[in-house]
């Protein structure tokens, strides 16, 4: 047993830290440190910088042009990026669809799609949820009918994060109604410029346009955009879920945001007020405990000696902590959490009341974070999964 990273791992961390310090644009980290609105250009600018270095696909094996890092190295990379205030990597391309293409796509698909994902040139979106298929994802109804060399897709996806920027979308589509709902699903890659696709914004309670509805009206998709076999899509989607384990806890970001909670509390003059300070202390304990849980999973992956099937716990705890720090920041703002100013999320906005730029964005972030216990399999669904491992 040893809590410390190895000398090699520490050297790796130092290398990443230095590179990030030298390459992360300051205007981006300013926005991230203050939870301000990031444009498409902001997000893609960082993605392309990473892509050029070969680190956008930081979880990829060398065989596909990735760095071939260990689980610990990936964790350290995520940590260094988070603490330096880098925008999060939009996961749909490099983290979500790419591993599926690597594992189940054919050589032609790998050559066609992976380079654009690795470089950050092509923006991918995720087409999973539907109006009738949220946590119960297997009940997707969007149909793909085979007609010659093509599929014709009809239906609707929803909650498509940043779909307004999407150039390609990976979809779970229904190709059969036989048997269990899970068995008739296929995994299809769709060019979002195809005729018949309409993207409509959903404005969330914070006033932001982050998610969308995507409608498919007789969209023709070449059959060679099907990943793997028809009706095996559920298996591939599950592989994708299994692929991301520790990342889901987002503990590195939580550490950065805890620092921000403390800064805000100091600025608002309540850091030394015991009732508020103790709440921060409790959050600090929660974050250290989550980090230890994450490190245990990494250690188990590294040694292969003990299996730790606790992805559900990481999701539940990570999302609860995200909501809690956002809540404490909002509470730190006090009565001035109340103004609802759309421009407050823009870098450089100063407002016309005291400390407006600091306090006005905080409630928005709090409301935005309510999604975290709902998406990616709601926390109640996660509890079902955890209970299954405990009670059978």
């Amino acid at each position: 047993m040893d809590l410390n990273f190895t000398a090699d791992e520490l050297a790796f961390r130092a290398e990443v830290r230095q590179w990030v310090a030298e390459n992360l644009p300051k205007d981006l980290s300013h926005k991230v440190f203050n939870a301000l609105r990031l444009s498409r250009d902001d997000l893609q600018r960082w993605a392309k910088i990473l892509g050029k270095k070969g680190w956008l696909g930081y979880g990829w094996p060398q065989q596909f042009g990735g760095p071939g890092w260990t689980a610990v190295q990936k964790h350290l990379f995520e940590e260094e990026c988070a603490l330096a205030g880098a925008p999060r990597i939009i996961p749909f391309g490099p983290v979500m669809v790419a591993p599926v293409i690597m594992a189940f796509g054919n050589a032609e698909q790998q050559q066609r799609f992976l380079p654009g994902i690795a470089s950050g040139e092509v923006w991918w979106s995720q087409g999973y949820s539907e109006p009738g298929a949220g946590s119960d994802l297997a009940s997707v109804k969007t149909r793909a009918e085979r007609q010659g060399d093509s599929y014709v897709v009809n239906g609707q996806k929803t909650w498509t994060t940043l779909g307004q920027f999407g150039e390609w979308i990976f979809c779970l589509v229904r190709t059969s109604n036989e048997g269990k709902p899970q068995t008739g699903i296929s995994f299809l890659l769709v060019d979002m410029k195809s005729p018949g696709i309409t993207v409509r914004p959903i404005i969330t309670l914070d006033g932001e346009h982050e998610v969308n509805e995507v409608f498919f009206d007789n969209v023709v998709v070449p059959a060679n955009n099907l990943i793997g076999e028809e009706n095996k899509g559920w298996t591939y989607a599950k592989h994708l879920l299994a692929h991301e384990r520790t990342n889901i806890a987002d503990v590195n970001r939580a550490k950065r945001e805890l620092e921000r909670v403390k800064r805000l509390a100091k600025q608002e003059g309540i850091y030394d007020e015991p009732r508020f300070r103790d709440q921060i202390a409790l959050l600090e304990v929660d974050i250290v405990a989550l980090e230890m849980l994450v490190l245990r999973v990494l250690s188990a992956e590294k040694s292969g000696k003990q299996s730790l099937d606790i992805a559900g716990l990481l999701k539940i705890r990570g999302s609860e902590i995200q909501q809690r720090y956002a809540e404490l920041m909002m509470l730190a703002a006090g009565p001035l959490a109340q103004p609802f100013v759309h421009e407050a999320m823009e870098a450089g906005w100063q407002g016309d009341f005291a400390d407006a730029a600091v306090v006005a964005p905080l409630a928005g972030t709090f409301f935005n974070m309510r999604k975290t216990t709902i998406y990616g399999g709601s926390n109640e669904v996660q509890r079902n999964i955890v209970a299954q491992t405990v009670l059978g």
């Binding site: 791992e9 620092e259 103790d278 600090e284 590294k302 705890r317 996660q382 509890r383 009670l391």
Partner: protein, 377 residues
């Protein structure tokens, strides 16, 4: 970073587990609790396993093991609900003695290692609650020895111990961290009396009254050793809590898969399944922070102190949640004396008060917060 155990560590853990399984079943434990909460025979069996010398240096007849081995032993003693003052006498007391001169160590450590001497810390005073710097017991020099006057509260196995390690004030005000001496006091010495009682969790403790009791000085600068020894105690409590929680959850899972109501097992009700998922969460967060506690014992004092308080806050919450919810999940049987789970619940509850409760340590974490935080901060 590596959370696997070595083969030797696994062997040690298995040896303790085997003793619990063969030699310390629930009827024995239950009878022992009813008979007053302490048995020198049980302590002797732990000594036969070498456990009383676990952290005593090899030169003094011990095994010379460290925090990880201590953690594994405590987990197993927790799992087995072993009501012996093991952590206090075999882990905390040697840590306090390590602050003393060589002749005192040579006189006591070998006898602690063999189990021949039961030496227990007597650190708490009634009005100090968990603040160990609150020492109003006084020490006055007398020839080459000292005389102590004051009262120490909830001393483990007070009427069965042979020797006490006592904090007493040499100088300063009641809450100063300077001027605190550590002393050895023999139970048979003049001016020593004990009022003992069984404890809620099936153990034994007592009030130690010192009225001009003769004492030997271990060190006149007791605070650093005291803080360190309490951190050892916290880590031991955390590990014991993990063992207790593991077993109580296992008992509850078995019960939920057996007991039927409304024609089906308890394990099939979603409200109860979700409760169990929350229990599992607290159990794993607790285990994570128990590892953290033991692995941080070697850090410099400031980092160590903060980390151990963080761990005790987590374990305090975890033990309370798991104990209370597993009792609730059992229904009526969970609150009977005859059924095993209530005894796990009582130990988990009392353990929160060992070496500082959740609110006490939350105050410590709060006071010690830095701008950055995390496992490696």
């Amino acid at each position: 970073m590596d959370f696997d155990f070595s083969d030797d560590q696994v062997s040690l853990r298995d040896a303790v587990a085997k003793w619990v399984e063969k030699g310390f079943d629930f009827p024995r434990r239950h009878a022992l609790a009813k008979a007053g909460g302490f048995s020198r025979a049980v302590y002797g069996e732990l000594a036969d396993l070498g456990l009383t010398g676990l952290v005593v240096p090899e030169a003094d007849g011990g095994l010379g093991f460290g925090p990880v081995e201590a953690m594994l032993v405590m987990e197993e003693l927790g799992r087995g609900l072993v009501n012996a003052p093991y952590a206090a006498a075999a882990l905390v007391a040697p840590t306090l003695l390590a602050a003393g001169p060589a002749d005192i160590q040579a006189a006591w450590l070998p006898r602690i290692a063999t189990g021949e001497a039961l030496v227990v810390p007597a650190l708490n005073e009634r009005s100090g609650r968990y603040r160990l710097q609150h020492v109003s017991t006084t020490a006055k020099p007398q020839a080459e020895l000292w005389t102590l006057s004051g009262q120490k509260s909830v001393v483990p196995a007070a009427d069965e111990a042979d020797e006490f390690i006592v904090t007493a004030r040499l100088s300063g005000a009641a809450d100063d961290t300077t001027g605190i001496g550590l002393f050895l006091v023999n139970k048979a010495a003049a001016g020593v009396s004990v009022k003992a009682y069984p404890t809620q969790d099936g153990g034994r403790a007592g009030e130690l009254i010192l009225a001009g009791a003769t004492a030997t000085l271990i060190t006149a600068d007791g605070w650093p050793a005291l803080e360190r020894a309490v951190d050892v105690g916290i880590a031991a409590s955390c590990a014991e809590g993990v063992g207790l929680m593991d077993k109580m959850v296992a008992i509850t899972v078995e019960y939920m898969n057996t007991r039927k109501q409304f024609g089906t097992t308890l394990a099939s009700f979603q409200a109860l399944r979700h409760r169990m998922a929350d229990v599992k969460m607290q159990q794993e967060l607790g285990r994570s922070m128990s590892y953290y506690a033991s692995l941080k014992l070697g850090e410099p004092a400031e980092q160590r102190r903060r980390a151990l308080s963080q761990a005790k806050v987590q374990l305090g919450q975890s033990m309370r949640f798991v104990g209370q919810q597993c009792t609730q999940l059992h229904g009526g049987i969970g609150v009977t004396d005859e059924y095993i789970s209530s005894h796990y619940f009582k130990r988990l509850t009392m353990l929160e008060m060992a070496y500082g409760d959740t609110l006490h340590h939350l105050g410590e974490v709060s006071a010690r917060m830095q701008d950055t935080a995390g496992v490696f901060a």
